[in-house]
């Protein structure tokens, strides 16, 4: 079995939001406010015109971190949130009772309530829409103009993601919480 993760060359990100739109079209995310599986976090520039700190304005593409030790899974009373055999954190909508414990437990704010199914929804690494059809990339990765994302198998030493992580320094978000996130931001 694979152990899927994602590396992000986040310095490439220009905040064009192609990823967000591709995700919505690929996964049928409703076009409503606050409905999104992925996003680009923008930190606004600091300073006073014309002395703006260039480094202060950053774009931080993000989504579910598919933690190996996921707080959302721990709190789910119905096991709707579970790990797939490939190490992805998934939600089974038929079991979700919308208690929203998971939404509160997630340190990354990666979950939202789908107003159509009235269940919790989030990034699935396109496992049902693309991976199940033999695709090897997620929609956000494939569409990206500057190729921020590299999705792949962390257990395969020859995969591009493993090679990238072997060669580059990276950081993970809120690692100190012990969540073991599988999104790697290449420095």
């Amino acid at each position: 079995m694979a152990r899927y993760g994602m590396a992000l060359n986040y310095k490439n990100c220009i905040n064009c939001r192609a990823c967000e739109s591709a995700c919505k079209e690929e996964n049928g995310v409703l076009l409503l406010p606050d409905h999104y599986r992925i996003w680009v976090g923008v930190k606004e520039a600091e300073g006073e015109y014309p002395n703006i700190s260039i480094a202060s304005q950053t774009y931080h593409p993000s989504q579910c971190q598919h933690c190996e030790n996921a707080p959302c899974q721990l709190v789910c009373p119905t096991n709707a949130t579970h790990y797939s055999p490939d190490g992805m954190v998934m939600v089974d909508p038929t079991r979700c009772i919308l208690c929203t414990y998971c939404i509160n437990a997630c340190p990354y704010d990666a979950r939202y309530v789908d107003q159509r199914t009235m269940t919790v929804d989030k990034c699935t690494f396109c496992s049902d829409t693309r991976l199940a059809n033999g695709e090897t990339t997620t929609a956000c990765q494939a569409t990206c103009p500057t190729k921020v994302r590299v999705f792949g198998d962390l257990d395969d030493p020859n995969s591009e993601i493993s090679q990238l992580l072997a060669k580059h320094e990276y950081r993970r978000v809120k690692e100190h919480l012990g969540t073991k996130p599988k999104l790697f931001y290449i420095l």
Partner: protein, 779 residues
């Protein structure tokens, strides 16, 4: 009397048309991948290679279709130009296709002009109506075809519409060029022999001034470049009155006073020349008139200290940028940009930019501005008829050089001011929204109301559609095969938009619209020509009417299907037609050259096959060299060399703002204003106002502002930010639609066309978009 048929045939020139000559093609191969009709049940899926039309870039896409419905658009990695990507707009193409507000049927106005009241008619009724109006107009105007004007937005089918214009015989074609990049293209072309392509895959030092590639995406520039910024191979200096996303990716952001870029470039040039940092061997061998230019720059004392006072950029920064640029040259580019004309000196600005780039030797070289190769298509020359009564273009004297695309603003204003030497009575409009894309919308509205007949071909009920008399619904780009196009460049290729699904409702591709319209009007219009054109009368005496009519037959250009024409256009490349249908992209040796090099990355051409240097150091200019001095322009009142003039320094009265407009990565001008997905990302536009100024004026985020100028006003919410200077106001173009038939876009945000003043620059009569002073008040 012997009629000089030859004059018609040859002196008038001919129009290049891709008309097929006896190419036969099996029906099965033509419709092999054509759309299957929608099935109610079942799971019929297919993939079609097509090209995006959500902006001008034409990125290659793969459409996934299930039971006749387009479910997803994915990037097509085969196209060197778009480099395996689709941006937010590309992804939202499905929402454009299935937009419930789309134009569905031919319409004829059924109320006051501008009332937005239309009645649904059949295509034949629409053509008959146009025919009736046109024959009346041309009879009254004694066959002066130029009384009917044609305008078009950018698009792959613009060529087909333009063919109709050429055969029709009017002198007036107006397109986006004079509202867009006319000065940039000509500034670079007349100086270094072409607009070129900045090799951002290899440049080491890039100055982007005004060009905002992180937001105004251009392929392949955006994709190539931002993988290399932030200390990863390319240094970026961003010069902009706003802190844009591009500025956030830069090594140095220089906030510049609006409209003063020319002073900045002249000072960079001064440093390069004065300190002798330019590429001496290159200048000696390939510059024409360098000594004169050098003397001009030095004697005018275009020093960084001088420029600091005008531009607001510190002299020490100008020294540093000039020195660093020349140290990195020739892998250094003053990026051409391709946006609109900003101010009166725009042509000279582009000249100065091109000359500065060339001083480093970064022209026709890897990492510099490259010209690339093209893959020529087969074109069939078809003679265009000549109409003796057609009078010349009315606005040709309004600027030094008014080319084939005209000066839209000058043309409109002449008609409004009654300065037209003969009446302008009708307008054919293809995929163009002058109500929204031309400064001073009030004048455009008056202009459109003044015309006897406005025929608009479009997909959406834009503000211009609402002021039209006849509306012809074009199908969406996913519903048609368009003319195959060759894209020259460092890695040239040919690409084709293939029809993905059948047109919905009664919409049609332009080729079919032109076919139907020309069949209706060709004969009746010839009758009028016969009545007033003495040349034609004598020709009929000499030959017979049928022979003469054949020349004036408008239908001849539209007899073939686009698929057939495309096969013919690429016939010199073996197997290309089939590959284009199947894969959407073709270039010689593609099978051998195209390689996947990583999960995201592809190689299109091996390094040694890329067309970095093609000119053999002989440039496409009159002297074959880089042109410093353009003496030929002086008799038209245009300076031979870039000069800074006091009049370029625009005073901004206390409490007012200089208005600037621009783009972001989620919308394409007004064309995407009603797109559900894009509105989900960016619900409306906001006016950028300096935070400290806003605080002083009691303006908070989200407060409604009325922005007014001498020509009009618009309402928009405020976004106080330090990313803009205290005397500048910005909002992104494309919002604030008036048309109530666009349900999501209607009255959503601010409309810059309503407040922009309509001044033009002297070279091409291009509209100056950054020369408007505005006032604001909270409402």
């Amino acid at each position: 009397m012997k009629v000089e048929i030859s004059r018609r045939r040859f002196l008038q020139g001919s129009v290049a048309m891709s008309v097929v000559g006896g190419v036969s093609l099996s029906t099965s191969s033509m419709i092999a991948s054509a759309s299957a009709p929608a099935k109610k049940i079942g799971n019929d899926t297919k993939k079609v290679a097509t090209l995006c039309e959500m902006c001008v870039n034409k990125c290659a896409a793969i459409a996934h279709v299930r039971n006749g419905v387009v479910e997803k658009l994915d990037p097509n990695p085969l196209f060197p130009k778009s480099r395996n990507m689709l941006c937010a707009r590309g992804n939202s193409g499905i929402q454009a296709l299935y937009d419930p507000d789309r134009l569905k049927y031919p319409l004829i106005r059924d109320g006051e002009k501008g009332s937005g009241k239309f009645k649904r008619v059949t295509w034949d009724e629409a053509y008959a109506y146009i025919n009736e109006k046109l024959t009346k107009i041309l009879d009254e105007e004694k066959d002066n075809r130029s009384t009917v004007a044609f305008c078009a937005g950018e698009g792959m089918a613009e060529h087909t519409f333009k063919t109709f214009f050429t055969l029709f015989g009017s002198s007036h074609f107006l397109n986006h060029a004079s509202l867009c990049l006319a000065t940039t293209v000509s500034g670079y072309s007349l100086t270094i022999g072409g607009y070129g392509q900045a090799d951002l895959d290899n440049a080491k030092y890039v100055i982007m001034a005004g060009a905002n590639r992180a937001e105004a995406i251009v392929t392949p520039d955006t994709m190539d470049f931002f993988k290399r910024t932030n200390g990863r191979g390319a240094k970026l200096v961003c010069v902009d009155p706003r802190f844009t996303n591009t500025a956030a990716k830069s090594d140095k952001w220089l906030a510049i006073n609006v409209g003063t870029d020319l002073a900045f470039v002249l000072a960079l040039t001064y440093v390069a020349i004065k300190e002798e940092r330019y590429n001496k061997a290159f200048v000696e061998n390939y510059f024409n008139g360098f000594e004169t230019y050098k003397e001009h720059i030095l004697s005018n004392n275009y020093t960084p200290e001088w420029a600091e006072k005008i531009t607001g950029i510190k002299a020490k920064d100008i020294y540093e940028v000039a020195r660093e640029f020349m140290a990195a040259a020739p892998q250094a580019v003053y990026y051409q940009g391709r946006r609109t004309t900003w101010s009166k000196n725009d042509f000279q600005l582009r000249r100065a930019m091109a000359l500065f780039s060339a001083l480093g030797g970064g022209v026709d070289v890897k990492g510099g501005i490259c010209f690339g190769k093209s893959l020529p298509l087969v074109e069939h020359e078809v003679p265009a008829p000549m109409y003796a009564q057609a009078k010349p273009r009315i606005e040709s004297k309004e600027a030094a050089v008014v080319g084939g695309s005209g000066s839209w603003v000058a043309f409109r204003n002449m008609v409004l001011e009654g300065r037209n030497p003969y009446p302008i009575r009708a307008l054919f409009n293809y995929k163009h929204n002058p109500m929204h894309n031309m400064p001073n919308a009030k004048k455009t509205e008056e202009f459109l109301k003044k015309l006897d007949l406005v025929v608009t071909i479009d997909t959406m009920p834009s503000d211009t559609v609402m002021l039209s008399d006849v509306v012809l619904p074009e199908c969406n780009y996913l519903e048609r095969t368009d003319p195959v196009v060759s894209y020259g460049g460092i890695e040239p290729s040919i690409a084709q938009r293939n029809k993905v699904v059948e047109p919905m409702f009664e919409s049609k591709p332009v080729m079919e619209i032109m076919r139907g319209l020309s069949a209706k009007i060709s004969k009746p219009l010839f009758e009028i020509t016969k009545k007033y054109d003495e040349d034609v009368q004598s020709a009929i005496e000499d030959d017979d009417e049928e022979t003469v009519y054949a020349e004036f037959d408008l239908t001849k250009a539209f007899a073939h299907d686009q698929e057939e024409l495309n096969v013919h256009a690429v016939e010199k490349y073996e197997g290309a037609a089939e590959i284009l249908k199947e894969k959407g992209v073709f270039y010689p040796n593609m099978n051998e050259y195209f390689k996947k090099t990583g999960v995201n990355d592809y190689e299109y051409y091996p390094e040694h096959k890329r067309a970095y240097s093609v000119r053999n150091l002989k440039f496409n200019t009159p002297s074959g060299k880089i042109e410093c001095v353009l003496d030929s322009l002086t008799k038209k009142g245009i300076d031979a060399m870039p000069v800074w003039k006091k009049e370029y320094e625009m005073a901004i009265p206390e409490g007012k703002f200089r208005f600037i407009t621009g783009r972001h990565a989620q919308f394409t001008q007004s064309g995407t204003a009603n797109n559900r997905l894009l509105l989900n990302l960016v619900p409306e536009n906001y006016a950028w106002i300096n935070k400290r100024v806003a605080l002083k004026m009691g303006i908070q985020f989200g407060d409604k502002l009325e922005v007014s100028s001498p020509v009009g006003k618009t309402t928009i919410k405020a976004y106080p930010t330090e990313k803009i200077g205290p005397d500048t106001l910005f909002f992104v173009h494309g919002f604030g639609v008036s048309s109530s038939a666009l349900h999501l876009a209607h009255n959503n945000g601010g409309n810059d066309a309503k407040i922009l003043e309509d001044g033009i620059e002297p070279m091409h009569g291009s509209s100056c978009l950054h020369d408007t002073i505005v006032a604001i008040r909270k409402v």
